[in-house]
């Protein structure tokens, strides 16, 4: 039957393509099943945006000034290590006013210090000053190093947060750098407030681990000392984890920090069977730790996490092998979290929230329901209207509309695009606007029929006349949606995507597809039944 032609064949395949590739999304995504596993290989699916499936969206930034401070601290640690390694006599090593200062007591050692400063401390600005005995050194961060440190802080925060969230087995968290100084964190499928709090805790904990030595010379004055005073001695005062009243006076330059840690896991104390955290240091860390414990037997060493002292035992003997335990009054779960956090690395600087959107699963389900109803009702109204107004021509246009919907879903599934609530609105809007092409075409055909053209001529001429208008109109809408895509964020991008795909698909279905169908069924169209076919009454004027 009929004239098979390339147009109708292309349309047919597009239709099949649309149905086949949208089936996985239709059968699965809309069930609001938040435990989607990626191993489910039944086909590529549309990802539901956080506003539809529920979840946590956060835009974070890094406290840069703290990143710089901690960089300075690690320079202090390295300088201390180098000075001790070279067996040089120094005094008053401290960190103050964004610089590391120390005094070298023997000027004969100057070349040695200058050598390792040049070799190992690139981009550090060094100023020297004469003092009564020896030379005063002041090290500060150069502009280049500051910039580098800030960048590292961001990148490291992205990696660290990603590791931490991946380690908890949550469903597909996204952690990515956004722009130059922001971090985007998206965790779908967060169900309860407790879950969300847990995630926020994992993200926010800086997990800055430091081994620090207790300033035994002044330790007994710790309760009468102000922080300011402590700083003058190059010390800091940190509280105990269990008893906030208990204070420790520690040298501000740590022995080593968490960057030298290779592994952390939960263990149990052999005597008390309480949970503890066992961690392993890398080679350099083990060496520093071994040397330090060897030279400081009888003194106390504090294990400090995020400026709180967890334990401060007296060193009994040299500890080699780089294995250290943190004991404290841990609950099992807490110990597990700290181990995860230590393992995934510390944050050079703490992060802070710039934007947060959290959508509960029930709200997401409501959003899906509301927008689906709107889509169904809108779709039904348009379909009904087209048939009532245009007869068979309307039916043909409706085929194109249905194909268009499937194509949007199929393309989004294949591209792995995200469907958001505004995206759903975009699909609803597409339904209204996609029939526009067919309205234009049908009006042109009617016009030509009224002027007395034959059906064949009316169809061909109608499509010809309508084409430029449809084309120009679609391109302008496309311009607006492409701009929206580039300047929009999150859910709004979803809107731009569905609208754009809808417009492009409508070119295929509403113009090419319906044209093909007309050509295909042309012999069937009865010129005496124009009311049935095109919804018009035959007039006196028509021949």
């Amino acid at each position: 039957m009929g004239n098979l032609n390339y147009r109708v064949v292309v349309f047919f395949f597009a239709f099949i393509f649309g149905i086949v590739f949208s089936i996985p999304s239709l059968t699965q995504s809309f069930s609001n099943d938040t435990n989607q596993t990626k191993s489910d290989s039944s086909g590529k699916k549309i990802t539901l945006g956080l506003d539809l499936q529920g979840g946590l969206h956060m835009l974070l930034s890094v406290k840069k000034e703290i990143a710089l401070e901690s960089k300075l601290k690690s320079i202090g640690t390295s300088v201390k290590y180098m000075l001790e390694k070279e067996d040089l006599v120094f005094d008053n090593l401290k960190i103050d006013n964004s610089q590391v200062t120390f005094e070298l007591l023997d000027n004969d050692d100057l070349p040695k210090v200058d050598k390792f400063l040049v070799e190992d401390f690139k981009n550090v600005t060094v100023t020297k000053s004469k003092i009564s005995e020896g030379t005063g050194y002041a090290l500060s961060l150069s502009e280049a190093l500051k910039k580098e440190t800030e960048e590292t802080a961001i990148n490291q925060a992205v990696d660290t947060i990603r590791n931490r969230l991946n380690d908890t087995g949550l469903a597909e968290p996204t952690v990515a750098k956004q722009g130059t100084d922001k971090i985007l964190v998206e965790v779908p499928g967060v169900k309860t407030a407790e879950q969300e709090q847990h995630i926020r805790m994992l993200i926010s904990k800086p997990a800055h681990l430091q081994m620090m030595s207790v300033d035994e010379d002044r330790a007994n004055r710790v309760y009468s000392m102000t922080e300011e005073e402590a700083r003058q001695y190059g010390d800091v005062i940190f509280p105990d984890v269990d008893n906030k009243e208990q204070k420790y006076l520690l040298y501000s330059v740590p022995i080593l920090d968490g960057s030298m840690l290779t592994d952390a896991k939960v263990g149990h104390n052999q005597k008390t069977n309480r949970p503890e955290i066992d961690f392993t240091l890398n080679a350099q860390g083990s060496k520093i730790f071994g040397d330090f414990t060897e030279h400081n037997v009888g003194k106390r060493m504090a294990v400090v996490l995020d400026n709180v002292v967890y334990t401060a035992p007296v060193i009994q003997t040299r500890i080699g092998g780089g294995r250290v335990q943190i004991t404290g009054n841990f609950k099992e779960k807490e110990a597990a979290d700290i181990a995860i956090i230590l393992r995934s690395g510390s944050l050079l600087a703490p992060v802070q929230v710039e934007e947060k959107r959290s959508v509960g699963p029930s709200l997401g389900a409501d959003n899906i329901k509301a927008s689906s109803i709107a889509l169904a009702v809108g779709f039904f109204l348009v379909i009904l209207f087209m048939v009532a107004y245009y007869g068979m021509a309307g039916v043909i246009a409706n085929f194109a509309l249905i194909a268009n919907l499937f194509l949007i879903l199929a393309v989004m599934s294949l591209a792995g695009a995200t469907l958001t609530l505004p995206g759903m609105a975009g699909i609803v809007l597409t339904v209204g606007m996609a029939v526009d092409a067919n309205v234009i075409i049908n009006e042109r055909i009617r016009e030509l029929l009224h002027q007395g053209s034959s059906i064949t001529k009316a169809i061909e001429q109608g499509y010809n006349n309508a084409f430029t208008a449809i084309w120009d109109a679609n391109v302008t809408t496309l311009i607006a949606s492409v701009v929206l895509y580039f300047y929009g964020t999150g859910p709004i991008k979803g809107f731009a995507i569905t609208i754009s795909i809808g417009i492009l698909a409508s070119m295929l279905t509403a113009i090419l597809g319906t044209h093909g169908i007309y050509q295909w069924i042309l012999p069937k169209i009865d010129k005496n039944k124009l009311g049935f076919w095109f919804g018009i009454k035959k007039e006196k004027g028509a021949k």
């Binding site: 109204l381 609530l421 609105a425 526009d436």
Partner: protein
């Protein structure tokens, strides 16, 4: 079914252009006044702030919530409104918190505990710096859309068409913004998307009318632009109305059924569809006339263009035949 009869007489749109123009001018001035006096009610996306969405079991005790919050130092500036239904409320504050580990929802859970049994369904917080960034981006998006459209229309039609369509766009956007100010609707990101959609949609309408006018200039014998416009607009009247109707239907269903989140978005679109349809007929076309568009000039240009094309084709044909 046919509502718009083919043999319907040509409507004298341009005759009344001045009167309609006055009406448009009035609407624009009213919108601008509204924008200046009442102003846009920026939502948290652009102004920064926090919204907590709370759902109670049964009717939400909104007065109790207000009283409870009023006594709290951190949240006494909060506004509390029903959100979509009787059982749901939205708490809005201007304040934001940068802390990751403690959160407004934790606070609310504690503060509101005496008011009844509820759950927190969602929290939106936008810090001031992000709000500012979103504002800039939104503005840029509008500017670039309009520029892109201007360039495209100039390229496809003529500069006067481009100017007329962009002026119609401005008209639509101004009135839509005026409606937002009048009803004090929260202007958030989805509203921006709606405004940009209006840009695309209204232009879509205008382009289709202009396409007919362009065609009319070629086929209609009269050299009077107003006559050509009248005939062309009459011809597209059915299409313009029908498409606007289908779009209006779906946007209306979105407004009625799409849920609270999309309400502002669909409201803006509803206004936009109506105004956009009106402007493509009554604003864009008269402007074209007032810009001294010359029918004869356009025809000369077109003729020259087609002559050039014919010339080129002839040369190509000769080249292919090897006679050159």
């Amino acid at each position: 079914m046919e509502v718009f009869k083919h043999d319907k007489a040509i409507v004298g749109f341009m005759k009344n252009a001045k009167k309609v123009g006055m009406f448009s001018a009035f609407m624009i001035i009213a919108s601008l006044l509204l924008l200046m006096t009442k102003g846009l009610n920026y939502g948290i996306d652009f102004a920064g702030g926090t919204i907590v969405q709370v759902q109670y079991e049964g009717k939400a005790p909104i007065e109790k919530v207000r009283d409870t919050l009023a006594q709290n130092r951190a949240y006494n500036g909060a506004t509390v409104t029903f959100f979509g239904s009787e059982s749901e409320i939205a708490i809005r504050t201007k304040s934001t918190s940068k802390a990751v580990d403690v959160d407004v929802s934790d606070d609310m859970r504690e503060i509101l505990a005496p008011t009844g049994s509820f759950k927190i369904r969602g929290v939106d917080m936008v810090g001031p710096s992000v709000g500012e960034e979103l504002r800039t981006k939104g503005l840029l998006a509008m500017v670039f859309s309009i520029l892109g459209i201007l360039v495209y229309i100039s390229f496809r039609f003529e500069w006067r068409f481009a100017v007329a369509s962009v002026m119609a766009l401005m008209h639509d956007v101004t009135i839509a913004l005026g409606a937002l100010a009048l009803f004090q609707i929260d202007v958030n990101l989805p509203i921006l998307a709606a405004i940009l959609t209006i840009l695309g949609y209204s232009l879509n309408d205008t382009v289709i009318v202009f396409d007919r006018i362009r065609e009319g200039i070629r086929t209609i014998k009269s050299t009077h632009l107003d006559a050509i416009i009248d005939e062309s607009v009459t011809r597209t009247l059915s299409r313009t109305t029908l498409t606007s109707l289908t779009t209006f239907f779906v946007v209306l269903t979105l407004y009625l059924f799409g849920g609270e989140v999309l309400r502002g978005f669909s409201f803006t679109l509803l206004v936009g569809v109506v105004v956009g349809t009106y402007s493509s007929i009554f604003v864009a076309s008269p402007i074209l006339m007032w810009l001294n568009f010359s029918v004869a000039g356009f025809r000369e240009n077109e003729a020259a263009k087609s002559k050039r094309e014919k010339e080129r084709e002839k040369q190509r044909a000769m080249y292919e035949q090897g006679t050159m």
